[in-house]
C-alpha cells in the first residue's frame, strides 16, 4: 500500500489519526452489529400474549442438527448447480453463435441479429422465464435454464463482439493476405483471440448466471432458494425462517466466493497474451490497477467498464 500515489506513506501523526479513526469505525460497526443482535435476540410477544424466544436462542437453531435439513439443502444445491451448469454451456454456445451472426458481413444477417440481441438484453430475465413457462409450457426447470441461457448468451455474444472489434485490423488483414477466406479468418484468427481476451468477463457472467438461478424460487423450480426457504420453511414452520435464511445465504456465499476466486485466478493466469492494446490511462497505467486487464472485480457487474470495453462500445453486462 506504500506505493499508493493518492496519499503519502503515513507518518507517525497520520498513523495515529488513522488508528483513531479505525478504532472509532470499528466501534461504530460493532455497535451496529450489537444492535442488530439485540433486535434478533429479544423475545417476541405476539398479539395473543404468546412469547417466542429471540432468534439467537438455541431453540431456534436446533434444526441444524437434523440430517434431513442438510440432505434437503444438498439436494437444492445440486439442483442449483445442475441448472447453472446446463444454462452456462448453452449460454456460451448461444453467445458464440450470436457473436458470429452479429459480425456477419451481410447486412441481412447483422441487422436482425442486432435487434434480437437488444430485445433479449433489454428485458428482465424473470419476464423471459415467465414467458417460456406460460407460452411454451416447458416446466419450471427448462424455463429457468432456457431463459438464463438465452439472456446470458446475448450478453456473452456482445462481449465477444466487443472482443473481435478490439483486435487490431492487421490480424484480419494478415489472415486474408495469407489466403484464408474471410470465414476462416474469423474462425481461426480473430475469434480465438477475442475469446481468450474476454474469458474473464464470460466467466464472471457465468457466476452471475449461477446467482440468477435463484429466480427459480419465483417460477417454481426447486433449487437451493426454493428448497431452503419455501419447502423447508413450510416443513419447519415460520419459527425457523431466519435460521433457514442464514443457512441458504451461507451456502450461496461460499459457492459464489469460491467461483469468483477461480475467475480471478483465471484472469491472472491468462495474462496479456492477446494483442489488444489498452489505450493509455485505462487499465495498465491506472491508479489502482494491478495489471492491464479488464478488471474482473468490476466487470462482474458490467462487462467492459474499464480496459477493453472503452472505445469499442462496451459490452453491457448485468448482475
Amino acid at each position: 500500500m506504500s506505493t499508493n500515489v493518492l496519499y503519502d506513506a503515513p507518518g507517525p501523526v497520520a498513523r495515529r489519526n488513522s488508528r483513531i479513526i479505525s478504532v472509532v469505525g470499528v466501534v461504530l460497526v460493532l455497535a451496529l452489529l450489537g444492535y442488530v443482535a439485540y433486535l434478533l435476540g429479544r423475545p417476541r410477544v405476539s398479539a395473543n400474549g404468546a412469547v417466542t424466544p429471540g432468534v439467537l436462542d438455541g431453540s431456534r437453531w436446533d434444526i441444524l442438527g437434523d440430517l434431513a435439513l442438510w440432505r434437503a439443502i444438498g439436494r437444492g444445491w445440486v439442483a442449483t448447480l445442475r441448472a447453472a451448469a446446463i444454462a452456462s454451456v448453452l449460454a456460451v454456445v448461444i453467445g458464440v453463435l450470436f457473436s458470429f451472426l452479429r459480425t456477419a458481413r451481410s447486412r441481412w444477417v447483422r441487422v436482425p441479429t442486432t435487434v434480437v440481441l437488444e430485445f433479449f438484453r433489454g428485458m428482465p430475465v424473470l419476464l423471459m422465464m415467465l414467458f417460456i413457462l406460460l407460452v411454451f409450457s416447458t416446466g419450471a426447470f427448462w424455463a429457468v435454464v432456457a431463459a438464463l441461457a438465452v439472456y446470458n448468451g446475448a450478453l456473452i455474444g456482445e462481449a465477444l463482439r466487443a472482443g473481435i472489434a478490439s483486435l487490431p485490423k492487421g490480424q484480419r488483414e494478415a489472415g486474408l493476405a495469407i489466403g484464408l477466406t474471410p470465414t476462416s479468418t474469423r474462425f481461426l484468427i480473430e475469434f480465438p483471440q477475442a475469446f481468450r481476451q474476454m474469458l474473464p468477463i464470460i466467466l464472471a457472467q457465468l457466476v452471475v448466471l449461477l446467482k440468477d438461478t435463484s429466480l427459480g424460487y419465483i417460477v417454481g423450480y426447486v433449487e437451493l432458494t426454493r428448497e431452503g426457504l419455501n419447502r423447508l420453511g413450510t416443513y419447519y414452520g415460520s419459527r425457523y425462517t431466519f435460521t433457514l435464511f442464514a443457512v441458504v445465504l451461507v451456502v450461496y456465499l461460499a459457492t459464489n466466493l469460491v467461483l469468483s476466486h477461480v475467475v480471478r485466478v483465471v484472469d491472472r493466469r491468462t495474462g496479456r497474451r492477446g494483442v489488444v492494446r489498452t489505450k493509455g490511462g485505462l487499465g495498465g497505467t491506472g491508479l489502482l490497477a494491478r495489471a492491464g486487464r479488464p478488471n474482473v472485480a468490476s466487470t462482474t457487474g458490467e462487462a467492459g467498464g474499464a480496459g477493453v470495453g472503452a472505445g469499442v462500445g462496451g459490452a453491457a453486462g448485468d448482475h
Binding site: 493518492l6 479505525s22 419476464l127 407460452v135 446467482k211 429466480l215 450461496y252 487499465g283 491506472g286
Partner: protein, 225 residues
C-alpha cells in the same frame, strides 16, 4: 372497429390499462428511488474503498463482496420476511423493496466508480501530489472530475440492470409492471403472448433508451480523452 384490434389479444392490455400503467409507474419509482439510494451509498462505499484508513477499506471490501455474491432473490426475501420481523415495518412492501434494491445495487455502483477512478492515468495523481495537494484535494480537484466522465457509461449500465431487477421485487409484493403483466396473463389465458410482449416493450423503452444514452456518452468521452 378499434384499430388496436389488429393485434390479437391486445385488448387484454387495453382493458386492464389502469393496472398496467400504474405498474409501469411503480417500476419507474422503484428504479429512480433505489437508483438514487444506491448512488449515495455506492459513492460512500467507493470513497471508503480507496481511503487511507485501513478499517474503512476492509469494511467496504467485505460489504461489496458479501452483497455482490448474494442472489437478489435472497436480498428481497430478507426484506420481505426478515426485516419486518426485526421491527422494520412500513405497513407496505414498497419501502422494503427499495431498501433491498438499494442495498443490492450499491456495491455495483461502488465498483463502477472505483473502476472510473482506476481509469485516470497515474501521472495525474502524481502531478497533483508533487505540487503539494493532499489526499482530499487530489481526489476532489484532480481525480474525480476526470473520473466522473468515465464513470457515467458503466453507471448507466448499472441502472439498466437495476431497471430489469425491479421485476424481482414485483414477484414479491410490489404491484409493478412485472406483477401487472403476470396478473393479466393469468387472468386472460388467451392473450398471454401479447400481454408479456407488451410488458417486455415497456421495459425495453426504458432500458434501450438508457443504453443509447450510455453509448452517446461513451463516444463523447472517448473523443474528449
Amino acid at each position: 372497429m378499434n384499430p388496436l384490434d389488429v393485434i390479437p389479444g391486445l385488448d387484454a392490455v387495453t382493458d386492464n390499462w389502469p393496472r398496467f400503467w400504474s405498474g409501469f409507474v411503480t417500476t419507474l419509482q422503484l428504479m429512480l428511488l433505489s437508483g438514487v439510494g444506491a448512488l449515495v451509498i455506492g459513492f460512500v462505499v467507493a470513497a471508503m474503498r480507496i481511503s487511507p484508513v485501513a478499517s474503512f477499506r476492509a469494511f467496504a471490501t467485505v460489504y461489496t463482496e458479501a452483497l455482490r455474491n448474494t442472489p437478489l432473490t435472497l436480498v428481497l426475501f430478507f426484506c420481505a420476511f426478515v426485516l419486518p420481523y426485526l421491527g422494520v415495518d412500513f405497513g407496505s412492501y414498497f419501502p422494503l423493496a427499495i431498501i433491498g434494491l438499494t442495498a443490492y445495487t450499491s456495491p455495483f455502483v461502488a465498483e463502477a466508480i472505483r473502476s472510473g477512478i482506476n481509469g485516470v492515468p497515474v501521472g495525474q495523481a502524481e502531478a497533483a501530489r508533487s505540487i503539494g495537494l493532499g489526499f482530499g484535494q487530489t481526489l476532489g480537484n484532480v481525480i474525480l472530475p476526470q473520473a466522473v466522465r468515465m464513470v457515467v457509461p458503466p453507471l448507466i449500465n448499472v441502472f439498466i440492470a437495476l431497471t430489469k431487477n425491479t421485476s424481482v421485487a414485483g414477484a414479491f409484493f410490489v404491484a409493478d409492471l412485472f406483477s401487472a403483466g403476470r396478473y393479466i396473463a393469468n387472468d386472460r389465458g388467451d392473450a398471454v403472448v401479447t400481454t408479456l410482449l407488451a410488458v417486455a416493450v415497456f421495459y425495453l423503452v426504458v432500458t434501450v433508451t438508457l443504453g443509447r444514452v450510455a453509448a452517446v456518452v461513451e463516444q463523447r468521452v472517448a473523443a474528449l480523452r
